[in-house]
Subunit: 201 residues, 2 copies
Amino acid sequence: MIPARPRDTREHIIKTCRQLFTARGFVSTPISAVIEATGVKKGNLYYYFPSKEALGLAVLEDARDDFFALLEASCVGPDPVERIINSCTVLLQQMEKDNFVGGCLFGNAALEMTEGDTRFAEVLHSVFGHWLARVEECLHEAESLAGCPFSLPVPRLAKLVVAAVEGGIMMSRLNRSRDDFQDCILALQTILRIEEPDRQI
Amino acid sequence: MIPARPRDTREHIIKTCRQLFTARGFVSTPISAVIEATGVKKGNLYYYFPSKEALGLAVLEDARDDFFALLEASCVGPDPVERIINSCTVLLQQMEKDNFVGGCLFGNAALEMTEGDTRFAEVLHSVFGHWLARVEECLHEAESLAGCPFSLPVPRLAKLVVAAVEGGIMMSRLNRSRDDFQDCILALQTILRIEEPDRQI
């Protein structure tokens, strides 16, 4: 059923297409599938989104806003390393709820959307840039608290965290199982533990 | 120019489509693009590959064989951790040669091919299964040589290695730069260093 108000219709199209693009990919989803899934007539669809690219961009921006909100809500707690692990665990729970169909919309988009349209790339850069900055912030705080640095530079360690999450999601999607992504999170949990110098034997 | 011999034609189609599917994705590449890129007539194409799925499977198997050969050739040397890092570095060089267009065919395929066709999933399982087993083998040897275990179980650490490589490739592709993938390899190099117990202070 399509809500009557324009704002709701736009929202309804975006949310439906987000599921659709995550599961099928943006490039390989034809407009006919969008029309079928949303129940919105073609003319009405083009009223809200003049092109498929405009629709793809709106979906990506919607996912970005939700991801930033998820980071805000999950990257919490007194221990900075646990904040990082919390966010990863919330991502895992979200993927699991969707039975790992589609994996990470941003990772998928990075692999298919960036060739032609620079506006897609801009959104993706803001997603990964913000995420990396947040992880780096936590890692710097962990170094301050422990009174010693990690064995590798913080920006490099932050990239490893994000890459391991993205790769873990891909493997979990392939195997339709939480195990791979969870193993990556557990591995990060061990690696990110800094020992205070006087605790080392 | 199309080679005359049937074996060469088949090979020519596979190699051309491998580049095509890596750059554009399998699902979103129409048969018309395959015909244009290969220069092979439609009837001739269907003589070799009765369906797009058969072509996709042949391309994936070809990439798998090359990847296994790459692992054999690059996962060498006296130090087991350096063997892992060598393989990653050879992958980085290969991606760089292609200017990070397309990223990892297996990772992409895992994200788009596995929904419908279980034969694609089988090839991907064999790729990631073989790769993980090879990394685990090296990690076990590293533990034996150091006389002490890693701080986390070998299968978990192996998954982190593979996930970090796949995620690193995705980020490098997004940024069209070797830096992200290289940072992930350097991070792994630090993390995989085991200190012998008597060397710890």
